[in-house]
Structure formats: C-alpha cells, structure tokens
C-alpha cells in the first residue's frame, strides 16, 4: 500500500499527470477517508447536533467528489467543454458548502484544491503543447483559454490554501489520527519529495528559457498580467514552489542549509532521496517516466537528464571543477537561473527583499563571480544572442548570455530598498548595514573581474560604467577611515571618476560621478578642489534638466559643500550654498530624507515613487546641524548688515528665514533661556546686535551647542576657533556701525581691547569698511584713532534721502524709476532670468506698501514731478 501510494502521491500531484481512472479511485477515497477521519477525530465524543453537521459535511464532500470525478472523466476524454462546465459547478458547489466548512473550522478541503490544481496543470499543459492544441476540436479549442483563465483566477482567489496545499502538509499530518498515519505520511512524503525534485526540474526548465527569464522585471509583473505568455504558468508554479522553499528555510528547518541556495536545492533533492527507503528513488523516477504520455515523455526525459547533469555537477563541484568545465557551464547557467529566481522572490518591485534572502543571493552571486574569475574561457555577456550561446562545445570558449554585472546592480538596489524600509533607529538597521560592507566587497570584486576581462570586449560600456558608479556611490559619503580600503581613498575616487568621465557617453552617469566626487571632497575638507570641480562641471546650469535622483544628489552635494565652506570660514559661500535648501522650508524633502508633508496633493503613485527615492538613514545629512550652521552664517552676515541700514526705511534682507526666527522671538512675550540650537543662535544675534561679543560667543559656543552642533564636526576645535574669531570681527563691525553717530573719535587701542582683537586686525577691518564706504570715517594716524564723520540725519533729511532713494533699488524712494524700470522690463518680456524672480517678489511687496494700483500712484507721481 505504502509504496503504491507513495508512487502515486509522487505523480498524481505532479504538474503533468494524467492519472488513469483506476488510480483516481483509491486516491479519492483515501482523500475522503482522510477528510472524514480527521473530522471524526475532531468531533470524537461530541453530541448529536454535531453529528448532523457532520453528515451534512459528508454530503457536501460527496457532492464535490462527484463533480471532481466527472471532471476527471472529461479530462481523460479531452472534452474541455465539459471540463469547463464541470469546473464551474465544482466551484459553485464549493461556494455553497463553504458555510458548512466554516462552521466546522476546516477551511478548504485538500482534495478540492488538488483537483483545482490538477485542472490548472492540465489546461496549462494543453496550452503549452502546440501540437495537442491544434488537434483539439473547435469547441474545445474555444473552451481551453476560458478554462485556463478561470482556473487561474480562481486559484488566485483562493490564494494561500493552494500554496499551503503544497507547503503545509506536515502540520496537518500531526493532527491526523494514528491509524491513518501511514496513509497521510505517504501522502506527505509524496508531496515533500516531489517538490524539491520539481523545483530542480523547474530550475531546469527555467534554464531553457533562462534568457528571457533573466530579466526579472518581467517576472515580477507576472501576477498582474494574464496574457498568453507561455512562461507564466511555469512561473506561477515556480512561485509556489519557491514560497514553499522559503517557508521551510525560515522555519529554521534542519534542511535549510543557507550557505548556498543552489547547493541547497540539489542537496534537498538528495536528502529527500536519502530520507526515504533506498529503493524509492528509482521507482519514483521510473514511475514518472512511465506515467507520462508518450508525447510528454520526451520533454521529461530531457528534464531528468538535466537533473542528473545538475547532480553530477554538484558531485564534481568540490573535486575537479576545473576539468569539467562542461558541468561548470551548466552550473553557471543554473546559478544564473537561481539568482534570477531569488530576485523573483519578491513579487512587487516596490517591496523589498528579506534580509536573509538578500544574504543568500549575495553569496550566490559571489560564488558565481569566483567561478567566472577562475575560468577564463567562460564568457558571460548580454551581447550574445540566443543562437550564439555555446554551452556544450568545450573546445571553444563558452558563451552564455547574461550579465553578472546586472545581477550585482540589482542586488545593490535591493540592499538600498532593504535599508530604506528598515527602522533606522533599531539594532536591526545596524545589523542590515553589515550587508552594505559585503556589498562593497562584492562590487569591488566585480570591478576587478571587469578589469580582468576587459580585453575580451564582452562588456557593455554602460554596464562597466555602472559598476564604477556603484563603487563610487558606496564610497562617496564615507569618511576616509570609514571605508575599509587599503590605499588612498581620494586617489581611488579620482581614478573611478576619471574612468567614468572617459567611458560614459551619456551625460547622466558623468554628472552623478562628478557630484559624488564633489561631495567626497567636501566631506574631506578639500574646499577649493570641491568648489572648482563643481564650478567647472556647470552643474548649476544643467541640474534643472536632469532626473530627480541627480537633483537630489545635487542638493546633497550643495549642502555638504556649504558645510565644508563653513568649516573653512567662507561664511558667505556657506550661506549661499545652504540658503538654497534652507530657505525653502522643505529641507528634508529636498534631500530625500523625509516624505513631504503635503501628502494629500500627491497621488499614491507619486508617493510611492518618492518613497523609493529616499536616502537610507546612514547616508543622511544632519538637517539640524545644517540649519544651525545656516543660521550662524546668516547671523554673521545679517547683523552688521542690519546695523548698517538702520536708517533705511525698508531693509534688504539677506536671509528670510533668519529674519523670521528673529521676529518670532521678538513676538514671544516671555523669553526664557534658549533651549534648542535655533534659540541659541537667535539669542546670540541679539547680543551681537548690541555689540556684546562675549555674550554672543557664549551663546554659540557652550556645552549644549557642543553636544548638538560642534561635536558633530569631524574636527570641531578649529571650527569653533574660526567661529569665535568671526563673531569678534562682526561684532566689531556691528558696534562701529551702530554707535558711529554717538562717537566723534574712537581710539583703536580701546577697540582692540574691547573686542580682544589685535590692533592690526582692527585696523584692517576698519580700513576695509572705509574703503567699501560702509563707514563714513577716517583714521588719524598720529593719534591712532578713528574719526567719525557720520552725522545722524534729522527726520526730514532721512525722509528726503529715502524719497530720492539712496542705493539704487533699495530705498522705497526709488519706487518711481524703479517701478517704471520694472514695467519696462515686463513689457519687453525679457527680464534677466536671474534677477527675475527676486524682482518680482520685491515688486509685489512694494505693491502692498503703495497700494499698487494706478490710482494710488497718481498723486505720488505729481509729487515726484515737483521734486524734479
């Protein structure tokens, strides 16, 4: 009994089985028995009511089984029409009986699922078999696609039970009563043994199609499309099987040898074989062959042959691989199929891989790479067409279509997705970050491989660029000592970038490489080189036209460059760089470090896209730090500026967000001691405005700020010294500007004592201010003091000055010519692009002030004309 069942179990759920009537019979009964007995066991010792239900259930079961039997008849008669209607009635009947099943807590009966799967397989097989299809009658031919579609849809609806059908036999087995154990076990074995075998077989069939399948993206879109692609069914089956494998693996099954997925599969077959009676293997295989139709026999023979080949390869893998390149070639192909299969695990592109499966894939790719590096006569390239492939002839070089580089690339993007989706504050993230290191190593090896084989001309230029690019993208954001790389990272970076500059024909990668290089230089404090490179690249002009990823990278680079400028004391440059990002209020979004707030404005698709662009946490730029640096820069620039235009009615602002912060703090009715970095800077600004540089310094450089800002710099001490020095200088400037009306003369010595600057520095600062006409004063050399010439204008004088507009556009008094000039520009329609937006803004502001309408302008114009 057991052997018979085993054998049948092995075959009956096989994809292509067309069991005979006689064989069906016992199976069904067995199934039946199993079902009832199971229930018996469950319901044992229950009251009458339950028995009634049970009878009801039995009745339902009988009904279903009857239909299934009819279906089988139809199948064997190749009457597809009948099969179609049979399937319909079956599903209907099942729907009806569902309620009963639910009451009994038994979900979907196994025999039902099996029958569904059988029908599907049958339909698929027919579909695939062109010859058989053409032999069908017209009616049947019509019914076939309908049937196929329906079954497929239905299976999809059923979902998990179908997969569980293959995946979960053990668990059910435990619940079964003792006396049936034999039966069940054989059944389970059947399923169990069949699956790995089939998996390998599938991998083999995969092999056959491996070329088109390699492009995994088409795979992953598969569940959505139900076209007539011949691969699909195979694929969906594969899917189930793979899920089966995965589940096993994750359950920590003893069979889960995770070292190598490929090995694992082969080993599994072997294990399955060894687990059982020794004589099982041949029998099952014979049975397999015997049970096939003559037509199918051919294909399955091939399948088995290939299976054997794989097994032999496995056997020789560890011993004399190099001599058996033929096997090796097989191995390559198989591993290729497996890699793509592994990628296949996640169905949707937006989903991310499990970390474990990532690790296994990584290992597989690594192995494949080793094999490729060791064997020079194996060529792997996308440029080979199907016909060119040379798999058997070991006298020539082996040519296989495919690309290891694409696999590496795909793997890299998977890692990014994993990191994107991980919780960045958990230990888990750190755990996963280790994969990054492995990934780096893999990319490095891939690059070496490329360089080793470059002379063969097997690589697509773009691929090669991509590999270099990947390396760059793994290096560019790290500090020198963070990358485990012997040798000079800077040189490496230059070398890689130069490679891309010379190889890349499209501009896109070149731009990215350039930006990464700038970023790297900025991180490593090479301000001048970074700046020159950025300026030479003309990125500012073209970045608007490039893709969003490049724009994000550009934003990141600019921010990093701004921070670098700040560290070097180039306050104006730093301010300029950072303000582009900081003034928008959406800094995080622009750096792709958070999703934008206004989600309701976006469609689901857009949001998904945005999510996929997010930068992984370990590459983030500290936004708070950036903001603080920006505010400090603003303070250093803006405060003296504010002091200098005290008498102008409307001030020009250098930094709007800084003014906003200042105003906010003025509004507060009660100002406590500063808490966050922002408040610190605001408090410091107020101190500076009063010319109190010591207080200002204490607000900027203290314990709290050390923790939040300064310690985040790579080398904080010189930066702090620089900032304090700048505070001294700017305070001096502010002081002079603010109090210039109060003093007639100031001694330089006094100033130098007050601001703790050397006299020489004071002298040079004052000289600069005089030359730039910020300060109307002169120095008296013999007495060493500054003589102020500034007289505070009276109110009338001030108004008159403002009316005539002192500094070109700045005063509101310039409104007349200013406005008219703007009008003229508008009419011309060719305003300077750069000043365009700011002018527009100012225009709208003044519109607010002056009412903006022609009517309000009229009297003022009269007044002006009088002034002429």
């Amino acid at each position: 009994m057991s052997r018979f069942f085993k054998a049948r179990g092995g075959s009956d759920s096989d994809t292509d089985s067309t069991d005979s009537e006689i064989e069906d019979e016992p199976k069904v009964t067995k199934k039946n028995n199993y079902g009832t007995d199971d229930l018996d066991f469950a319901a044992g010792g229950e009251d009458d009511e339950k028995r009634v239900v049970r009878a009801q259930k039995d009745k339902k079961f009988d009904e279903l089984k009857g239909i299934i039997k009819q279906n089988r008849d139809a199948k064997s008669n190749k009457d597809l029409n009948k099969l179609l209607t049979g399937f319909d009635t079956l599903t209907k009947a099942f729907e009806k009986s569902k309620a009963v099943f639910q009451r009994q807590n038994i979900g979907v009966p196994r025999f039902f699922i099996r029958s569904i799967v059988e029908i599907e397989n049958y339909a698929n097989k027919l579909w695939d078999d062109k010859e058989a299809k053409s032999g069908l009658s017209k009616n049947n031919a019509k019914a076939l696609p309908a049937l196929r579609q329906k079954v497929k849809k239905y299976i999809k609806e059923l979902g998990t039970p179908v997969t569980d059908y293959l995946a979960n036999p053990d668990e059910e087995g435990y619940e079964t009563p003792e006396e049936e154990e034999d039966d069940i076990e054989s059944e389970d074995d059947g399923v169990l043994e069949k699956s790995p075998e089939k998996a390998v077989a599938q991998a083999e069939t995969d092999d056959d199609r491996d070329d088109d399948v390699r492009s995994t993206s088409s795979w992953s879109s598969e569940p959505d499309t139900s076209g007539s692609d011949t691969d699909e069914d195979g694929v969906s089956k594969m899917e189930q099987l793979r899920r089966y494998f995965l589940k096993k693996e994750f359950r920590g099954d003893d069979k889960g040898d995770k070292k190598d997925k490929r090995k694992q599969r082969v080993i599994k077959v072997k294990e399955a074989v060894e687990d059982d009676d020794d004589d099982w293997t041949p029998v099952s295989r014979e049975k397999n062959v015997v049970l096939f139709d003559p037509k199918e026999e051919v294909t399955h023979d091939v399948m088995i042959k290939k299976l054997n080949e794989v097994m032999s390869v496995r056997g020789k893998r560890n011993t004399d691989r190099d001599q058996h390149v033929a096997n090796l070639r097989k191995l390559l192909e198989v591993s290729f199929a497996i890699i793509s299969a592994l990628f296949e695990i996640n169905v949707k592109i937006s989903d991310h891989m499990d970390y474990e499966s990532f690790a296994t894939t990584l290992a597989t790719v690594n192995n494949l790479l080793t094999v490729l590096i060791e064997n020079e006569n194996v060529k792997l390239s996308v440029t080979f067409s199907d016909e060119d492939e040379n798999l058997k002839d070991d006298k020539e070089d082996y040519r296989i279509q495919g690309s290891i580089l694409i696999a590496v690339q795909r793997l890299d993007s998977e890692l990014a997705k994993i990191l994107q989706n991980a919780d960045c504050h958990s230990n888990d993230y750190i755990e996963k970050l280790r994969g990054e290191k492995d990934m780096c190593n893999l990319i490095e090896r891939a690059e070496k491989y490329v360089e080793l084989r470059h002379h063969l001309g097997v690589f697509d230029k773009y691929e090669v660029c991509k590999i270099y690019m990947m390396r760059i993208e793994h290096i560019y954001y790290k500090y020198k000592d963070q990358c485990d790389f012997e040798g000079d990272v800077g040189e490496m970076m230059t070398y890689l970038c130069n490679k891309i500059y010379s190889l890349d024909e499209e501009k896109q990668l070149r731009q990215r490489a350039m930006l990464c290089h700038v970023y790297w230089l900025a991180v490593h404090d090479e301000w001048h080189r970074a700046r020159d490179l950025l300026l030479m690249s003309h990125m500012q002009a073209i970045v608007d036209h490039s893709d969003i990823d490049t724009q994000i990278l550009y934003n990141r680079t600019i921010c990093q460059l701004g921070l670098c400028a700040f560290r070097h004391g180039f306050i104006r440059e730093a301010h300029q760089g950072l303000s582009e990002i900081q003034n928008t209020q959406r800094a995080k979004e622009l750096l792709a470090q958070a999703i934008g707030m206004r989600q309701h404005e976006k469609t689901f698709e857009q949001e998904k896209m945005e999510r996929s662009r997010q930068v992984p946490y370990h590459m983030h730029i500290n936004v708070e730090l950036m903001e603080c640096v920006y505010l400090i820069c603003s303070m250093l620039l803006e405060i003296p500026h504010m002091a200098s235009c005290e008498f102008e009615m409307r001030r020009r602002m250098l930094s709007r967000s800084f003014h906003y912060q200042l105003k906010q703090s003025e509004k507060a009715s009660l100002t406590g001691p500063p808490e966050n970095t922002r408040e610190h800077v605001v408090a410091a600004s107020k101190a500076m405005l009063n010319g109190d540089w010591k207080k200002c310094r204490d607000y900027i450089v203290n314990e709290k700020m050390n923790q939040k800002v300064w310690n985040l710099f790579y080398n904080p001490e010189p930066v702090k010294v620089m900032v304090v020095r700048r505070i001294q200088e700017e305070s001096l400037r502010t002081y002079l500007l603010t109090y210039s009306t109060v003093y007639a003369t100031v001694s330089l010595t006094k100033l130098s004592n007050l601001f703790e600057l050397s006299k020489k520095d004071v002298h040079s600062i004052i000289s600069k201010m005089i030359i730039q006409e910020e300060l109307s004063a002169t120095l008296d050399e013999p007495t060493d003091c500054l003589i102020m010439h500034r007289i505070e204008p009276s109110r009338l004088q001030m108004l008159a000055l403002n009316l005539t507009g002192r500094g070109g556009f700045s005063g509101p008094g310039a409104w007349f010519p200013g406005r008219n000039e703007r009008q003229g520009d508008k009419q011309k329609g060719t305003g300077d692009r750069r000043t365009g937006p700011s002018d527009g803004k100012r225009g709208s502001n003044s519109g607010g002030v002056w009412g903006g309408s022609g009517g309000a302008n009229q009297p003022r114009r009269n007044q002006k004309q009088r002034a002429f």
């Binding site: 005089i770 008296d780 050399e781 004088q797 000055l801 005539t804 507009g805 000039e821």
Partner: protein
C-alpha cells in the same frame, strides 16, 4: 630665491629654443646651482641641432659623438639646401612675390598654388620641402632663414594641413628669436585667430593651446611698447584665456598683475577684476606680486604689503620678462599704497609713510609733493612743521546727497524712456 622663479614652471609651455634665452638669463643670477644649470643647458642644446653652441659648452674636449653628429647635420643640410634652392628661386621671382604680398586671407592659398603649378611646375611636394627645410633651419638656430621659409609656407600651405599650426608656432618663435617684435606681433595675432577658430577635437586641447599661446606672447608683449595693455586685454578680459590661466597656468597671474599695476590707462578698471581672480586662485598660486595685491586690497594689511613689495623687487629683477618693468612697478605700487592711505586716513605722519614706502623721510616728502602735483590728489596738504600729510575731509552732507540722487532720477527716467522706445521699435519690427 629659487622659490619664486618660474623658469621651471614655464618651460613645459615653451619651445626648447625659447627656453634657451631664459636659461641664459638665469645663469648669472646665481639662483640655481651653476653646475645643474650648465648640465641642463647642455642637454637642451643636444636636443637641437645647434651643434656649435653645444660644443662651446664643452670647451676644448668635445666628445667624438658630437663631432660625428655635426658632420651628419651638415650633410643633411646640404641635401635639403639642394632641394630648396629651386623652390626659393621661383618664389623670389618678382611676380610671385607680388602675388604673395597681395594675397588676401579670405581667398586662401589655392589661387597662388594653381598659378605656380601652371607657370613654374610647382607641386605640393615643394611645399612640404619648404616646411622641412624651415624646420631644419630652425633647429640649427638659423631663425632668419626659417622665418622667411615659413612665411612662404604659410602663404602656400592649406590651413587644414596638420603642419599648419606647427608652422604658425615656428614662425612666431623665429620672429621672437630674431627679435622682430612687429612681425612677431602679427604672427601672434594670426596664431590666436587660428586657435580661436577652434579646429581642435577636444576642449582640453584648446585650453592647452591657449596656455601655450599666452606663454609665447609674453616674449612679444613685454618687448613691445603697448604690450602690457595687450596683456591685460588678452589675459584678463578674454574669458577663455582667463580660464586657461586658472586651469593650467596660474603662474601667469604674476605677469598679468605686473601688467595691470604698471599700466597707466587700464589700471583703474582692471584692478578689481584682477583682485577677484587672484583671490580665487590664492590657494593655487601665490608669489610676492600677487600677495602684495592681496594684502593691499583684500586683507588691508599695509605692513605686510610693504614687506611683499620689497620681495617683489627681488623677484622682478630675477624674472626674464619683468626686469625691465621693475622701476615702473615700484613706482606704481607705491602710488597704490599711497592712494589707499589717502582714502583711509585723515592724517598721516610722513615718517610712517616713508617707512611704508621704503624711502627716507626726505625722499618721501619730495615724492609726495610730486604726487600731489602730478595726480592732483584732492585736499592733500603737507604740514611740514609737524611732518604730516593732512587730507581734506570730503564727507558728503545729506543735503548734497539728496541733490545728487534727485539729479540721478532724471537720468534714469530718460533711460527708461529710451528703453521703452527701443522695445516698441523692436516690437514693430517683429510685427512686420
């Protein structure tokens, strides 16, 4: 002192023959070790065909190999001479000469070639010979001959010929070496026009050519009366050339700076631009000349500026191109410092000024008097008793400011009116 010597940095941009005068200039200055200079000189000569000069460096015991080479060269020269003679005879016929002189750029050289081919059996090969011969003569140091032949070649050869650019350079070098500055200047213009037309494949090539051109131009411009203004025009005001300086040869900033400082007509306008460039390139290139300007206009540190000025004198006197400008430079630099002082100070002691300007007090006083007279510095007076220079303070009263601004308004209103008029015209033109 060798720290600021540019011979080594310049050499890669110059022809071997152009480096020779530099070496000869630098040899007696004692900046470098004399042995290494001689060795260098010898190596340089051995790469050329100027055997006689090479033999001079050895004195009496000349190696046999060189004697051998000499014979070979003479033999080669005779062969080439035999080939070239008929060609030159044809070209020196009066009618041909006339044609060559009247040839206009636009017509190209085809017409002459056709004429020569028809009347004198002239062929393309002859043109080649011309080039070869002139190159050989150049190598031998007979620059006059080579410049004449290259003149013919340039008039006959096709612009697309790969040797054409070489010929232009060769002609320029020959003219420089025979010190025909007028001709050299014309050649320089021709070469520049050729380069600016950008016949090169890559951007990099173009930049390199520009850098070469600028180095060679130094010979011409510093030996030519208005040359310094032309340096400013070429180096500073032509953006592509300025870029080439920044990318490849920041050391040229020294020559540019000297040119700007000493230029009388261009100083005011160019100084600001120059300072900007120097500031940008400060991390890349520094020498006393640029530092002087940095100290004066960026750091406002007059003490240091003074120190730098002293260093400048040394640097300039040791620079092949700049020795002649030394006094000019000194004078202009002092003036710049003084001007700065006047703008900042109300009252300066002459003693301090003298210290700053590197003069004795009496000298300084006389100098200032001259200055005030020649440049009409407003309001500056010498208080001889106290030993001070007093500036008249020219602070603008608010009343004046308002007046000024109001006057300006009219001007601006006029401008707007003009602009509107112009745009209206444009529109009507477009509409038609």
């Amino acid at each position: 002192m060798s720290k600021f010597d540019l011979t080594q940095r310049m050499a890669p941009f110059l022809d071997l023959h152009l480096v020779i005068p530099l070496l000869e200039f630098i040899e007696p200055r004692g900046i470098y070790d004399s042995k290494s200079i001689t060795e260098m000189h010898r190596q340089l000569l051995s790469k050329t065909n100027m055997i006689d000069s090479l033999m001079d460096t050895y004195g009496k015991n000349v190696p046999a190999a060189i004697e051998e080479k000499r014979k070979q060269i003479i033999k080669e020269r005779d062969e080439l001479k035999a080939k070239i003679d008929p060609v030159v005879t044809i070209l020196e016929l009066p009618e041909v000469k006339e044609m060559l002189e009247n040839n206009r750029e636009r017509d190209g050289n085809v017409r002459i070639l056709e004429f020569l081919a028809a009347n004198h059996g002239f062929s393309a090969e002859n043109v080649e010979v011309l080039y070869k011969y002139s190159k050989f003569m150049y190598e031998c140091g007979n620059y006059t001959a080579s410049s004449v032949c290259l003149y013919y070649y340039r008039n006959l050869a096709n612009q697309a010929d790969p040797n054409y650019l070489n010929a232009l350079y060769g002609k320029l070098a020959s003219e420089i070496l025979v010190q025909e500055w007028e001709h050299a200047r014309d050649d320089l213009l021709k070469l520049r026009a050729y380069i600016d037309a950008n016949p090169f494949e890559t951007e990099w090539e173009l930049v390199t050519q520009r850098a070469w051109l600028m180095h060679w131009a130094l010979f011409v411009y510093f030996n030519y009366p208005k040359g310094r203004d032309e340096i400013i025009e070429l180096f500073l005001n032509q953006q592509p050339y300025l870029n080439a300086i920044q990318v490849l040869a920041p050391h040229l900033l020294r020559y540019l700076a000297v040119a700007v400082v000493t230029s009388k007509s261009r100083q005011k306008n160019s100084l600001k631009d120059l300072i900007k460039v120097i500031d940008i390139e400060r991390h890349n290139y520094e020498d006393p000349v640029t530092d002087f300007l940095t100290c004066l206009y960026i750091k406002y540190d007059f003490d240091e500026a003074q120190e730098k000025l002293q260093q400048c004198e040394e640097v300039l006197s040791n620079d092949f191109f700049l020795t002649a400008c030394l006094s000019d430079f000194r004078e202009s630099a002092r003036l710049l410092i003084f001007e700065m002082f006047c703008r900042i100070h109300q009252c300066i002691t002459i003693e301090m000024l003298a210290r700053r300007l590197n003069m004795t007090q009496e000298e300084a006083e006389r100098w200032i008097v001259d200055l005030i007279r020649t440049y009409r510095i407003e309001g500056a007076k010498i208080d001889s008793k106290l030993g001070q220079v007093v500036m008249g303070v020219k602070s603008v009263s608010i009343h004046e400011q308002v007046m000024e601004n109001t006057k300006r308004l009219t001007l601006r209103a006029q401008q707007i009116a003009l602009q509107l008029e112009k745009s209206r015209q444009e529109k009507t033109v477009k509409a038609n």
